[in-house]
Subunit: 178 residues, 2 copies
């Protein structure tokens, strides 16, 4: 009886492993947002990269354990928008663009909107071994890395980077899946 | 020739009207986030409610114009997570819970995670005229309204509200669609 309960619990846990990993990704992205609110920018940066690591694992895990699900795919996109769309955009806005008035806000919002469109398009497109447009994970990591340029280059560089990443996400550029 | 181009452009614009409305919802939610970062809490609150208004319209518009699409549905969920998950949670965190250390951060993240799960489950469930769990739009508006209680009630009330809304979103409570 006890073994049966244990076996059923382990089976359920296995089925949810990838989703738990996705939720860890989201939690790390949310923690990055809270650190940005508290002006703890280096911690925010570290948590975005931890979210990227966790994001790398959940898909691999789901495929390896044969537990890929439609719920998991939906959850993954929602979490990616927070961890690699909203979190990096707010980090760069708060460290560099906050005194850039309307253009700073406009291009920050544009980046998040293009990220959302990229994820929605991905969810309704048949997989064929290629990504259409740069994935939001890559764009988010590049935007987060640009934090290290703060104070050394003109603010315009960040605006150009935001525009370029927004365009690359919604473009039809084809990239081979790794 | 000119009429043909005009007709085709108008047709494309009609097809995208609901998606443009969804993007307006997302932009208003993102603007609310930027206002929260700048400690402009009242403006953040107004923009979350404007996002809710816009959210009410896009679905109605899509149904009325007969232009419902899978891309539109995906986009809608992604935008809802930002405007009614992340934006209200960060507003309440920054105005009330910021000095509540780990529990404040934990329950803020829990609320966003439950919102993401609610949206993912909604996307993979067949529609039957009922909502399963309180919609994130309702939860987000209630959480935003609680801003008016800041300073008049104990911080614990906000924690209880976050836990209750998180639970109600992922619960199996059935609500008739309006």
């Amino acid at each position: 009886m006890l073994l049966q309960v244990l076996d059923s619990t382990l089976r359920k846990l296995k089925a949810q492993t990838a989703n738990i990993c996705t939720m860890v990704n989201l939690s790390l992205g949310c923690a990055a947002l809270l650190f940005t609110l508290q002006d703890e920018f280096k911690l925010a940066l570290i948590f975005i990269f931890l979210a990227a690591l966790s994001d790398r694992f959940d898909g691999m895990l789901a495929r390896k354990l044969g537990i890929e699900s439609e719920l998991g795919r939906q959850l993954d996109s929602l979490c990616d928008l927070v961890s690699f769309g909203v979190a990096p955009a707010l980090l760069i806005y708060q460290t560099v663009l906050y005194d850039y008035s309307v253009p700073g806000a406009f291009f920050t919002i544009l980046y998040i909107a293009c990220g959302a469109f990229r994820l929605a398009r991905f969810n309704v497109t048949e997989s064929n071994g290629y990504f259409q447009g740069v994935p939001i994970t890559v764009a988010g990591c590049l935007l987060t890395l640009s934090y290290f340029l703060a104070g050394t280059v003109s603010t315009n560089v960040f605006l150009v980077l935001l525009i370029a990443l927004s365009f690359l996400m919604v473009s039809s550029v084809k990239l081979k899946k790794m």
